[in-house]
């Protein structure tokens, strides 16, 4: 942590579905240019947490502040305008457009040209779009239909789209899910490099611990909706509770009973 103002501050974030407490009182922050991993077993509430951060679902309680401004009840499009890029667990791209056009749509939106009815989009900000594609090593794919890309390429395209608004913060929900091991490492190295070059804060969820421990400067551990550990990769790795969740089934079971009694 470099001491500058945080790009993201979360306080007491809470969400329940019926009787299930998906996220309970989660608080943390991400500093400028900091790479933070949010880990936890399946069903820990990572994605729910993520969806509250960019306004996709409204939290029951708690606040989200981006760059000092409260964005708790803002829809995703407003959060994006504040400088947040988002990638999804299952990629969301525009499958009937070319790769370049996918970027151009984001660039046009960033330039507030969405309601322009007459300009030619295929010529809009071509150079910027190609530069972004170059950044994720996809310059050769610009004119390919997005619908026929391989999954790993879609993930990289999503990253380029997420970078189109010069974000201060990237929210990446399982950026490497569904990719081959080699590709995973390459993609996360790419993300880390871009983030460092442009001082972008990154918050990502991940199941691959190699990826987490290679890149994260700080790790947050979520279990049953609660933040149970936070710190450097080394300290989290030593944390007995974290070890219990990931390794010791017996301890997890006890912990689970305990939690259940509380909740």
């Amino acid at each position: 942590m470099s001491g500058t103002a945080p790009v993201l501050e979360v306080e007491g974030l809470t969400k329940s579905y019926g009787g299930v407490h998906a996220v309970r009182g989660v608080s943390f922050s991400v500093a400028q240019g900091e790479i933070v991993a949010l880990i936890g077993p399946n069903g820990a509430g990572k994605t729910t947490c993520f969806n509250m951060l960019n306004g996709q679902i409204p939290p029951d309680a708690g606040r989200v502040r981006l760059l000092g401004e409260d964005t708790t009840d803002c829809p995703p499009r407003v959060v994006w305008r504040r400088g947040v890029g988002r990638t999804f667990q299952i990629t969301a791209t525009f499958s009937t457009m070319t790769v370049r056009e996918n970027i151009q749509v984001a660039l046009a939106s960033h330039a507030s040209r969405t309601f322009n009815l007459w300009r030619s989009m295929p010529d809009f900000a071509r150079r910027d779009a190609d530069a972004l594609l170059g950044l994720v090593d996809m310059a050769g794919y610009a004119d390919r239909p997005c619908g026929e890309l391989a999954y790993g390429d879609l993930k990289r395209l999503e990253l380029a789209v997420a970078l189109a608004n010069n974000p201060r913060l990237l929210l990446m929900d399982e950026p490497t899910a569904g990719m081959a091991p080699k590709e995973r490492v390459a993609l996360m190295r790419l993300v880390a490099r871009i983030a460092r070059e442009r001082t972008i804060g990154v918050l990502f969820t991940e199941h691959d611990m190699d990826v987490v421990f290679e890149h994260a400067e700080r790790v947050l551990v979520l279990n049953r909706g609660q933040l149970i550990a936070e710190g450097t990769p080394a300290s989290v790795r030593r944390d007995p509770q974290v070890r219990a969740i990931y390794l010791g089934e017996g301890l997890l079971y006890e912990g689970g009973q305990h939690e259940g009694a509380n909740g």
């Binding site: 999804f88 969301a92 525009f94 969405t114 309601f115 300009r119």
Partner: protein
């Protein structure tokens, strides 16, 4: 007081048939995810069948037996339809399913006229329920009381069926998760067929039970289906309780609407529907559709603007079209004018459907509003043509602003049903508000200014306006707005995550499409010199859909070709046969099942293949192989 009670009871009695038909539609949708447009046709068939059977079979047993037999016979027809037609289109986009079942409706309408004749048929009174009873000094037919009872009885019977039988449990399971039911080893095919037959049985029973109350005729299908769509939009598709509650609500609104707004009673239903949609967009008892399904227009091959050579070709075609008056006679010119106007109408709908992914089943509303805008300005205000042409379409724009605001809150089948209901409301107002619109007699004597009064000049005017607007639509498709619209269609989630307000984009697209349709309507009013409620009607909306489909939904401008072919075919067909609906319905079904890409879509595919083959033969073998692998991906 007593009058209100009787009015209330009459409303409840009307709710019975509405509930039967709506619950059938809901059950079918729950399992098969098809909104069966032909449900009104099955209702009508039930009534005709019951009429014939109750005439032949005598006595109390004969009458009631005839009613049930009629419903069973129609259910058997439904099962056959499911096996022959629907099984082929379960995987198609919703639009195609709606269109195919609408095609079926058209065919049934003509078949009914062939079998039973065009006149209204009066059915027998129900044995045991011939008289009337006294309610606070007012007469209420005792048959109405029977109907009031039958609604809750059927609701209870359906509850037992779905909670106490193995079949019912399977249906409920399939409504929640079809794939899981299939994975558990249930034969999907027969489950679907039986569910469809059951739903059709309910519709036919609803029709059969109407015969002691109402005359049977060949237009009752569309009347009921629009009411049913309103019911399921309010009650929520897939919910039987919702269908019951909403059927009662809509029937009562109709019964009392006449007292509140005697001339435009349908307004009350519209206001309630709008209120429900604002509070609960998926209906009172409905659940939000989780994953939106594939909409037409999502072909993999990305669109591109025309090349220079293609633009030259289009300019040549335009020049050829403009030279028609030099060698064509007046009849040819007026037919060509009509085609040009409908090409514009189809292009506006196509913009909404292909770029927006929004299949409107009521696009004629805006066409008709444009026509009425012109007619009212010309007749009531005596405005000159230029003013009428500029200001008339504003009525269509206003309609699109209001209806579009609600419509874009929904998607897929809900959007289709809602747009249809809105169009029907606009039609009813034009039909009922005789003082202003002239009702069924329409507004006559709308003549163009002397400058464009000859057929040739009016043709040139129409061609120029249509061509300019079609070009404008194309520019919009390739503008940032057009891309934002397509982005929302492809992935609303991603669009929102990059700052695009999808609902607003869709709303504006709806208004643009509606306004351009209104311009087409304004021209049409001058072409015909008159305006009738038909220009807001369902059949014109469907004509538009067929033009788009025929041209190719997944193309940029296929609707133009579709409109030309369809309109020419239609004019020729009407002059050749009395059974144009039968032929048209059959054409729609064939298109959907065998030819879903449309004319332009097929042409593009063929050109693409030829180009690829040329590339393959021109390049060395290894490169050709790579190309092959590429294209196989």
């Amino acid at each position: 007081m007593s009058f209100y009670v009787v009015q209330f009871l009459t409303g409840l009695a009307s709710a019975a048939s509405l509930f039967l038909v709506a619950s059938g539609l809901s059950i079918i949708f729950g399992v098969t995810r098809i909104v069966n447009f032909a449900h009104g046709a099955f209702y009508m068939l039930g009534a005709y069948m019951a009429f014939t059977l109750t005439e032949r079979l005598s006595g109390t047993v004969g009458f009631w037996g005839g009613i049930v037999l009629a419903a069973l016979a129609v259910a058997a027809v439904g099962a056959a339809v499911e096996m022959i037609l629907l099984r082929r289109i379960y995987k198609s986009p919703e639009l195609f399913q709606l269109l195919a079942t609408f095609g079926l409706t058209l065919m049934v309408e003509d078949l009914v006229v062939i079998l039973w004749g065009p006149d209204d048929l009066l059915g027998r009174r129900a044995p045991g329920f011939r008289g009337a009873i006294d309610v606070f000094g007012q007469n209420l037919p005792s048959y109405d009381l029977f109907l009031i009872v039958i609604g809750p009885v059927v609701l209870g019977a359906l509850w037992l069926l779905f909670h106490r039988t193995r079949w019912g449990v399977l249906v409920r399971a399939a409504t929640q998760d079809r794939d899981m039911v299939a994975a558990l080893g249930v034969n999907q095919k027969w489950l679907f067929t039986s569910v469809f037959a059951a739903g059709v049985f309910l519709a036919a029973l609803g029709g059969a039970l109407q015969i002691p109350r109402d005359a049977v005729n060949h237009t009752m299908d569309l009347r009921i289906i629009v009411d049913v769509f309103v019911v399921v939009v309010i009650g929520g598709l897939g919910s039987i309780t919702g269908a019951f509650a909403a059927a009662v609500l809509v029937s009562e609104l109709n019964a009392f609407g006449i007292l509140v707004f005697p001339k435009i009673s349908i307004i009350l239903v519209f206001l309630v529907m709008a209120a429900v949609l604002i509070v609960r967009p998926w209906g009172l008892f409905g659940k939000a559709e989780t994953a939106p399904r594939r909409t037409p227009g999502s072909a993999v091959r990305p669109w591109r603007p025309l090349t220079f050579a293609e633009r030259v070709a289009v300019a040549l075609v335009f020049a050829a079209a403009a030279s028609l008056p030099l060698f064509g006679g007046n009849y040819a010119i007026s037919v060509a004018t009509e085609i040009v106007i409908f090409a514009l109408f189809a292009a506006s709908l196509h913009f909404l459907m292909s770029a927006g992914g929004l299949a409107s089943f009521g696009h004629a509303a805006y066409f008709g509003l444009g026509s009425y805008g012109v007619a009212l300005l010309a007749k009531l205000a005596g405005a000159p043509m230029l003013v009428c042409l500029l200001a008339g379409p504003l009525l269509g724009l206003a309609g699109a602003v209001v209806f579009g605001f609600f419509a874009v809150r929904l998607s897929g089948v809900y959007f289709a049903m809602l747009t249809l209901a809105f169009a029907q409301i606009a039609w009813s107002v034009a039909f009922q508000w005789v003082e202003v619109t002239g009702g069924d007699n329409g507004l006559l004597g709308i003549w163009p200014a002397r400058l464009v009064a000859t057929p040739a000049r009016f043709y040139w005017l129409s061609l120029a306006i249509s061509a300019a607007l079609v070009v404008a639509l194309r520019v919009m498709v390739f503008s940032p707005f057009g891309y934002a619209l397509r982005a929302t269609r492809d992935s609303a989630l991603r669009g929102e995550a990059i700052g695009i307000d999808g609902k607003r984009v869709q709303w504006i697209a709806f208004v643009i499409a509606g306004t351009i349709a209104a311009v087409a309507g304004a021209l049409f009013a001058y072409l015909k010199g008159s305006v009738f409620p038909d220009s807001l009607g369902i059949s014109l909306s469907v004509d538009g859909l067929v033009m788009v489909l025929l041209g190719g939904v997944e193309t940029v401008s296929g609707a133009i070709v579709g409109a030309i072919v369809y309109k020419a075919l239609n004019i020729w067909l009407v002059s050749q046969t009395e059974l144009s609906k039968l032929v048209l319905g059959g054409l729609i079904i064939v298109l959907v099942v065998a030819f879903p890409r449309g004319i332009v879509g097929m042409a593009e595919l063929v050109v693409d293949r030829l180009r690829r083959r040329a590339q393959l033969s021109a390049s060395p073998p290894s490169a050709a192989l790579a190309q092959d692998i590429e294209s196989a991906k």
